[in-house]
């Protein structure tokens, strides 16, 4: 499976979406759209978030599903929260620069 690139390979800045295409009728929309915050996270983080939602937000259930201890899963979630906060901050900075 192809991995969606989120940062520029040349300067490491945040990438944005320039075009979207309908696979059925090939209609193409051009513009400049920011990547959703979750899409900016790594694939590992994204799958963790999905599993977390499927487990109704229960860390205990997540720990059972992943075969890990409760604090290990909680620490992982805390790391993702930190990354989300950083992504939010960098998103704000980009918007401010554009203005």
């Amino acid at each position: 499976m192809k991995v969606l690139p989120t940062t520029c390979p040349s300067c490491s800045s945040q990438l944005s979406v320039k075009s979207l295409v309908c696979e059925r009728c090939q209609t193409e929309i051009q513009g400049q759209y920011e990547l959703p915050l979750v899409a900016r996270l790594s694939t590992d983080d994204q799958s963790f978030i999905l599993e977390f939602i499927k487990a109704s937000g229960s860390l205990k259930e997540m720990a059972n599903l992943l075969g890990l201890s409760y604090p290990t899963v909680r620490n992982r979630l805390d790391e993702i929260i930190e990354r989300v906060k950083i992504a939010e901050e960098s998103g704000k900075d980009i918007k401010e620069k554009k203005l």
């Binding site: 890990l68 201890s69 409760y70 604090p71 290990t72 909680r74 620490n75 805390d78």
Partner: protein, 214 residues
């Protein structure tokens, strides 16, 4: 095929090393607490056969005979004395909302290398060599003759105990880092301060117990 086999072997050895040096990745909370308490009590029970006292968070000494409850109390005091400063530092340093049960459980489980230390202290050769060394130190007639095998066994046991001590401290640190979600220099410094504090605290508590009951 070869690559797949190599990957499986690497994954297995990585999982094994995780179980040896960071079992808290897989086990914590109530399960770790039950298992850890069983290990602490078993270590103290086995230690009582060779009069091995865990008379401090890091200490393993052969000493006088004592009632069984005293050996068990020593093990529990060591564990509680380590948990108190780590929990307090966790509250100050950690940004995560951690659970007391994880600190209690992982610190109890981290003491499992001392079960091996208690078993290693069982051979009579240790006592004979220690009695001999003590008699030399206080310049009295040796209590009993020692053989070269006694010395070899004693040397091996000392090596095992030092190894178990290093392993236990490494596990205690990992237990602290995982249960309180603390990393880096802050984790190392607060752990060292806690370890020194816990050693002093446990010594005071055990000495107080000796003064009250003996």
């Amino acid at each position: 095929m070869i690559e797949a086999t190599t990957n499986i072997k690497t994954a297995d050895s990585s999982r094994l090393s995780q179980w040896l040096f960071n079992p808290f990745r897989f086990i914590a909370g109530f399960k770790a607490l039950l298992l850890g308490l069983a290990i602490i009590l078993a270590s103290s029970f086995i230690g009582s056969f060779s009069n091995t006292h865990f008379d401090g968070v890091l200490d393993v000494h052969t000493g006088r005979s004592a009632p069984m409850w005293f050996f068990l109390a020593e093990g529990l005091i060591d564990w509680v004395c380590m948990v108190i400063p780590l929990f307090l530092f966790g509250l100050i340093v950690s940004r995560s909302a951690f659970r007391m049960i994880d600190v209690l459980g992982t610190q109890a489980l981290a003491r499992w290398p001392y079960l091996i230390a208690a078993l290693a202290m069982l051979p009579d050769a240790n006592r004979r060599v220690l009695a001999y060394l003590m008699s030399k130190l206080i310049q009295t007639a040796p209590a009993a003759a020692i053989s070269s095998i006694d010395v070899l066994v004693f040397g091996f046991v000392m090596f095992v105990i030092i190894l178990m001590l290093i392993w236990m401290v490494a596990l205690m640190y990992r237990a602290y880092a995982v249960s309180c979600n603390i990393k880096g220099a802050g984790a190392v410094v607060t752990f060292i301060v806690s370890l020194i504090g816990a050693e002093v605290l446990s010594k005071i508590a055990i000495l107080s117990l000796v003064r009250i009951f003996f």
